[in-house]
Amino acid sequence: MIQLTEKAAQKAGCCHAKEQKPFSITAKELAECGKDNIPDAFIPNCHLIYSSPETLAYNSPGAIGFGTKRAGLVIPESVMLLVSPSCCGRNSTILSQTEGYAERMFYLLQSETDLVTGRHLKKIPEAIREILKVCDPKPKVVLICITCTDALLGTDLERICRQAQEETGVLVVPSYMYALEREGVRPPMVAIRKTIYSLLERKKVQPDMVNLMGFFSPIDPESEIFPLLKNAGIHTINQVSTMKTLKEYGEMGAANFNLVLDPLSRYAAEDLRKRLNMPYVELARLYDPDRIHHQYQLFAGALGIRMDDQAWYEKAAERRDAFAKKYKGKRFVVGEMANANPFELAGALVRMGMEVPMIVSNLTEAEFPYIRQLAAESPDTRICTGISPSMVHFQAPENIDAAIGKDAAAYCPDAAGLEWNGEKQPYGHKAVIDLLDALDQALQKGGHTAQARNEKAFYGSGLRGKGADKRTSADGQQA
């Protein structure tokens, strides 16, 4: 059905036209371009965005766990009212059911008349009242989520929410699924992180309390970060995803500081710093034991505390060395649909003695520190982006032993595939050990290891129990 044109075969540039390959660039070339001269192929606004199953998560982040809507429901005892054209909520029809939050999603569908008159906004308080009637127990928070149409209309959702809160007596929180601002200052997945913490108020500071920010699902409880922090005197470690009630959530306002584990949460942390005078420190998720150890030491030094990760470090290093010995020279493709920064992970694999012929990922200037390191360590690693229109002709590279990431596993069907994008968030030395164990298993068995499916049982209830679980039927009976 799809055939390459003659013209495409003669296309110049980074694309190897005669071989009809999609756009790609080496790490060395990309580092030389610099963060101020990123090739157009990596800038979504410069071209059509190719739609393939491998890139579904780019257009629909909910497809691999958390998009804006599900993320907002991390606030305990909350429900969400999506006020939008019906198309915006379509994926929630399926995802909310499979992920277990269907009973916490409500939809106020816009018509064309609404767009012209803005009357959909006037309906919000009444819609909230109707929702409250059917929920049992009643939610304490209603998130209102608006989308691109209201972005274009310039809707002042904060004012609408204040008014609705006054009229209904329940907390009403604005949230934005503005795909149009995807590459803007506050893209949707950054904005929703701010929303999640927006209800916190400053409480009396507890010196031994910290909030871990960054993920919508809990960190692996066996990660060493927990005992390390506790041994350093930080006894209460909060994660918003583990809060069961709004009251518990509110206690996060007493934290001494925040630990930001994903740069997408930086904006939310900065908001808490300004609003609540709650400082924050950033720690990256890394897959190199040496660097993890170094990061912990820097962190401890900055705070004037002691973090003795030696035992875990040695264990992770031992595991790394054993893996490196067993699989030296194996070829990996790394994708972005994984619980890892693909460029950082690729660098860690290269330092272990693996080869990484290809990374499939979008990138921004934030990735350039890792790209520069990769350029020094593996200059010929090719980087391509799944959203480039040229990806319609993607062919898997040859002789790939393993692919990490749901997208990479799909791009390389003949390789041992490890999705590594489950809801249990890996972190620290434990993450390295778990990743290498999973890779070891995948390489031995072959086929795809759907980490997401296996680990779903860990948090199988999703957000169930954090909000209104039951609905009453139209005549007042329990659903």
């Binding site: 296309k11 071209h47 497809a63 019906s86 691109c148 149009l180």
Partner: protein
């Protein structure tokens, strides 16, 4: 409140319906959105996207594009797709964003056609209507394009449309397994036949059909959003072939491409399996090509069921399928009172006295309260809103409602389970 879903969830929107018609026709499909609509259409409303390669793109619109009206940038973006994919046409699919900023689709298409030498069409969907409306718009626009192709070719013009007509004529019609199919030569040769998107227009001579010859039957309205299972199109073709021996059924847009649609006026008969296909089939009917609807439950004669009277049944699905189920049930249990309902378009010609088109969740709830049904067959999602009702609910999933959540293994499984469920409920 109208428009508020307290129990139900959004159905497939018009843009998904448009793509469901266009998906296999060999064009570049550009969804004019920021990305989310494309993700929803492809990832949740188009099961073929996971198994069949297609050139579907998002325009990747951003706020600045909307504010500045940068249609020239969109045209530039089409260049990459046009350069790398040998497509028969470009289709622009509308979403809420271009709807709000009043994008001039027609102008963009004209410029694209001029710039890239590929015929271009637009489907002015808004993301705010249901899928069937998008399907109708897509059929209309594609048929208009094909008419333009014929017109230009006939006039000897050197246009992209004329070039496409020549290509499609050379390709000819193939059945789903790739075999060439002869058309209705009597009607095709020397006559000014044109596929016309307008239901009331056209100047086609009457087609002379002969079912004893090796002819084809066109199937309209066959998309994954309307059919029960992945193999349902094939199952439909088998049933139609059984009903009309010697013919080869062709399901337009499913397991067939643009060449087959180009030759629609040569079909000896048309079958319609959802409301969106009615308009085109009726236009062809005026030209003498007869049409039938249904074919979902054809096959061996069913044994008469147990004698049952007084039970009230409601079938909730896309109208053509609901009516097919009703017809089957009436043959088996003549004494039943059976109503059909749908959240999607219902054609008056197929509506009976108590059939109803529902416009809101409240309509659905009220309907169940008012009519005291004993048995309801419909998508499992609908049941969420009527937990107060204690009759027999038989699962009859529709992809446009619940997506792939309840998708059966096969068409045979779907109908087997449905028949079994209905039989148990009716005869208990």
């Amino acid at each position: 409140m109208k428009g508020l879903f307290r129990y139900l969830s959004p159905f497939s929107p018009d843009q998904s319906g448009a793509v469901s018609v266009l998906f296999e026709l060999g064009g570049i499909i550009v969804i004019l959105d920021a990305g989310g609509c494309t993700g929803n259409i492809c990832g949740f409303d188009e099961p073929r996207w996971f198994s069949k390669k297609s050139a579907v793109y998002s325009a990747g619109l951003r706020d600045i594009d909307a504010i500045l009206g940068r249609d020239d940038k969109l045209l530039g973006k089409l260049n990459d797709a046009a350069d790398t994919v040998d497509a028969d046409f470009i289709a622009l699919v509308g979403t809420p964003v271009p709807s709000v900023i009043a994008t001039d689709y027609g102008a963009v298409c004209r410029l694209a056609e001029k710039q890239y030498g590929i015929p271009a069409v637009y489907i002015e969907t808004t993301g705010m209507d249901d899928y069937d409306k998008g399907q109708k718009l897509a059929y209309e626009q594609i048929l208009k394009l094909l008419k333009r192709c014929r017109d230009d070719r006939k006039k000897g013009l050197d246009t992209p449309a004329a070039g496409l007509a020549a290509k499609l004529e050379a390709q000819g019609i193939k059945s789903a397994d790739g075999k060439p199919v002869s058309g209705n030569e009597n009607a095709a040769s020397g006559n000014e036949k044109q596929a016309d998107g307008n239901a009331g227009g056209g100047d086609w001579p009457a087609a002379e059909s002969s079912l004893s010859e090796h002819k084809f039957i066109g199937i309209w309205g066959a998309t994954p959003l309307d059919l029960p299972a992945e193999d349902s199109a094939q199952a439909l073709r088998s049933r139609i072939a059984e009903r009309y021996p010697g013919t080869i059924p062709v399901s337009y847009g499913m397991d067939s491409g643009l060449a087959e649609l180009f030759s629609a006026q040569n079909a000896v008969r048309n079958a319609v399996c959802s409301v969106s296909g009615l308009e085109a089939a009726r236009a062809l009917e005026k030209m003498g090509i007869p049409m039938d609807t249904g074919f979902f439950l054809d096959g061996e004669e069913e044994e008469s069921g147990k004698k049952v009277t007084g039970k009230r049944v409601l079938l909730v699905h896309q109208q053509i399928m609901a009516c097919s189920i009703r017809d089957w049930m009436r043959k088996k249990w003549p004494g039943l009172q059976i109503d059909c309902a749908s959240f999607f378009q219902m054609d008056k010609a197929f509506m009976e006295e108590n059939d109803v088109k529902m416009d809101s969740e409240n309509d659905w709830i009220q309907r169940i309260k008012d009519r005291d049904y004993d048995i309801i067959a419909g998508d499992p999602i609908f049941r969420r809103a009527i937990s107060f009702w204690d009759g027999d609910y038989i699962s009859a999933p529709q992809y446009a409602v619940s997506g792939g959540m309840y998708a059966p293994e096969s068409d045979e499984d779907y109908w087997g389970n449905l028949k079994k469920g209905l039989t148990e409920a009716v005869e208990k």
